[in-house]
């Protein structure tokens, strides 16, 4: 495979895309500084960098959504002036955005047509678009039904629609911005197959990601960005995840979590026969039993959407328990016990929710206000009728320093922090209540490498301090490197619990598909 790329007169063909000295500032922020980039035709070129390193800005410049302050863009050897997305499309550049640009109420056909309707009336354009979809889906093995309503499709299918949209005008360069962020591992695998087909058919793919494993798995060449600058270009075959991580962060990073064996104590948190039936009468969780001891992490693995979210929300008191019992630090909760997130919290449970934007933070509130969410009636906001603003600020500043939240400004809205720093704020808040039991959902989703390392370290430190931790994550690697025991959920049921030391990806993969394994405790 690598021989194919370098040989065959690759030097004679013009570069698919060439950037020279691209710079872009937003006010005082210099998002891109003097960026150079060469993309060979028919190759998969990765761009990796932490959140906020300027990857998205650079892609938006190539795709005409932003205009560079300085620098030149060449497409297929020709200098081009990209002033809008329409210009980019005309130059043969297509883009699949991180957040899909699809109209959910439209059919696939209408979504693909949008922008290139082929005339005043839709009638004739419809036929042409249908033919084009069929042609593209055959050529690049992108199976979609043109008449399906996009809102009914799953994420993987929607992404295929996005790719068809990007390719419909005959794009030679396809930009994929964080394409696997929303996909299950299986869907990501399918996407990689599609990307390989694209390369075979001569399309150059620019893959933007912050996941090292993806870069290593699929790209031919990789460029690393750090703080708005290019930190280096590498042939993927000649680099290593460690080197890439170091280039991204600017210092050595431990990719493997350095952990000591667990020293479990008493059972602090347990569930027996736990079940949840939603208001529509659908059984979402059934017969789940587990126990978590002091000083251990129980990981919950499973393909996304197999009941992990519901389990977390039932345990946190956000949804009612409909069957079985939960025991928290000696207090028993039954299906008929009136409960609430507040009562659960008072029992000594901390909760880092899966979706920090909806359940963890109020994005339009200041950092110091977010830092007291759920603890607003505790002493730190003052005992009287009014909140003690200066105590809130100083408390927030202290926690921000302790958890390396940057910038450390308590008056800034939560929205203006990066994903990693938002997550650190949630963690800082929950950790400082000193919980006896901690529920953690997707602790590193959308978080950059440097912050992942930090969060993992803090979770292990909390474990060693005696906390009982239940960890839900869609990243199997995260579960395998943090958890002491792993419970696998499939279709809302517990497939089994195995020792992390005995777990490998294959066993876990089979369990995630619902197959019981020997040695697993149900």
């Amino acid at each position: 495979m690598p021989g194919k790329r370098t040989g065959g007169g690759g030097d004679a063909a013009p570069l698919a895309l060439r950037l020279e000295g691209i710079s872009k500032s937003f006010g005082l922020v210099r998002a891109n500084r003097n960026i150079d980039l060469d993309v060979k035709p028919g190759s998969i070129h990765g761009i990796i960098g932490e959140n906020g390193a300027g990857k998205s800005t650079l892609m938006n410049i190539i795709y005409g959504m932003h205009r560079a302050d300085e620098g030149r863009i060449h497409v297929a050897g020709q200098p081009v002036d990209v002033r809008s997305s329409a210009d980019a499309i005309a130059c043969g550049i297509g883009m699949v955005h991180q957040h899909f640009m699809l109209v959910p109420t439209f059919s696939v056909l209408e979504n693909v047509m949008l922008g290139t309707e082929g005339g005043m009336f839709l009638r004739e354009g419809r036929q042409a678009a249908r033919r084009r979809i069929m042609e593209l889906s055959e050529r690049f093995s992108l199976a979609v039904d043109p008449d399906a309503i996009v809102g009914d499709l799953n994420v993987g299918q929607r992404q295929r629609v996005e790719i068809i949209k990007a390719l419909k005008g005959g794009a030679n360069v396809l930009i994929l911005d964080e394409p696997t962020g929303v996909l299950t591992p299986q869907e990501a695998e399918q996407l990689f197959d599609i990307i390989r087909v694209l390369r075979e058919r001569g399309v150059s793919v620019l893959l933007i990601t912050h996941k090292l494993a993806e870069i290593m798995a699929i790209t031919d060449t990789v460029s690393i960005m750090r703080q708005g600058k290019m930190a280096g270009h590498r042939e993927t075959a000649q680099t290593s995840p460690e080197e890439l991580a170091e280039l991204m962060v600017g210092r050595k990073v431990l990719l493997e979590v350095d952990r000591t064996p667990a020293n479990p104590g008493n059972v602090r948190f347990s569930a027996s026969g736990l079940g949840y039936t939603n208001p529509a009468g659908i059984v979402e969780l059934a017969d789940i039993s587990f126990e978590v001891r002091s000083g251990e992490i129980l990981g919950v693995a499973g393909v996304s959407g197999n009941g992990q979210t519901q389990l977390m929300e039932v345990l946190a008191g956000m949804r009612p328990l409909t069957a079985g019992t939960i025991s928290i630090l000696g207090t028993e909760i039954r299906a008929d016990t009136a409960t609430s997130p507040r009562r659960i919290r008072i029992l000594g449970v901390g909760h880092i929710p899966e979706d920090r934007h909806h359940h963890g933070l109020v994005l339009n509130f200041e950092a110091r206000e977010n830092m007291i969410l759920g603890f607003h009636d505790s002493a730190l906001t003052g005992t009287g009728f009014l909140m003690d603003q200066s105590a809130m600020s100083s408390n927030c500043r202290e926690r921000m320093a302790g958890f390396d939240v940057r910038p450390g400004n308590p008056r800034l809205n939560a929205r203006s922090f990066s994903g990693g720093n938002q997550q650190k704020m949630v963690i800082a808040r929950e950790f400082s209540a000193n919980p006896g039991v901690l529920l953690v959902g997707q602790p590193t989703r959308g978080v950059d490498v440097g912050a992942i390392e930090f969060i993992h370290k803090r979770l292990l430190a909390l474990r060693d301090a005696g906390c009982a931790i239940l960890l839900v994550s869609v990243e199997l690697d995260e579960i395998m490197s943090l958890a002491d025991r792993i419970m696998v959920l499939c279709a809302g049921r517990n497939v089994g619990i195995i020792d992390a030391a005995a777990a490998d990806r294959r066993t876990l993969g089979l369990m995630m598909a619902g197959q019981r394994q020997e040695g697993a405790v149900a």
Binding site: Y63, G64, M65, S84, S85, A86, D87, A88, I89, M95, H97, H99, M101, L102, V103, P104, T105, F106, E110, N111, M113, L114, G115, T116, E117, G119, M120, F121, L122, R123, G125, K165
Partner: protein, 322 residues
Amino acid sequence: MSDFFFQLLLILDSTLRIATPLMLCAMAGIFSERSGIVDISLEGKMLSGAFVAATVAALTGSAWAGLFCAMGAGVFMSLIHGFACITHRGDHVVSGVAINILASGLTVVLGIALFRRGGQTPHLPKEDRFTPIEWIGVSVLDPVPVVGAVYRQLISGHNPLVYGALIAVPVCAFIIYHTRFGLRLRAVGEVPEAVDSAGVSVAWLRYRALIAGGLLCGIAGAYLSIAQGAHFVREMSAGKGYIALAAVIFGNWRPIPAFLACLLFGFLEAWTARLQGTTIWLLQDIPTPLVQAMPYVLTVLLLAGLIGRPRPPAAIGQPYGK
């Protein structure tokens, strides 16, 4: 029976006349709201249209000149709304209310300045207005029972703007569902990012939607002052813009259902007007204000989810761009 039939015919005839400005404004509302712009300013645009139509018709003696200038006035008000909401990312409701207040005050001030009749415009003679058109064959069909009466009362004998409104509905439906502009319009109200990334200007698309709405509101205004009425009276739009907006919501932002909602609201008003002082049919003792409040009551019930579920365009009211 024949008396009942005759009464019904009169109510339906008057339904059509009452519903005409509602239909025009509802179509205008569908254009702007489908593009993502909250259009509470239908009222103000219609009122400006009414004033300009009456003024121009009075000064030039031409109903057509009045109509065209009214359309221009509607577009002008729409552009103010667009400038505030699209270009400057202002709050749509605040801008809309401002336009309504502006129209309400400005029409009276200009009216007094121009004509010194306390805000009214001079009474227009028949030739300067849009008058009912008698369709051919009325006298031929007249002797035929039922058909003759329906043809004479309901189909024939309306002014051109009534027919214009009736044509506007299918034309709007066609534009929205079967043209390039319509596809983009529907998309921009749902996911403007998708339109932008497809290389289409969100701002220009929304401006065009507002312009289309302004034209229709102008026609509705002209209908009030130079077709149905014979001069401009202060506040003559009398909340019709809001009722049209209720019809848009009631019709789930779709032209044909919104049209039916306009007819329903028109029917309710025609019915109360007919009922006053008469003792026909049943339920004649229902207080008029209650029936007049029906469009609003029905809309509130709808929004509360008691009759179906309205599904507004997803991106409505949200400014777009960095």
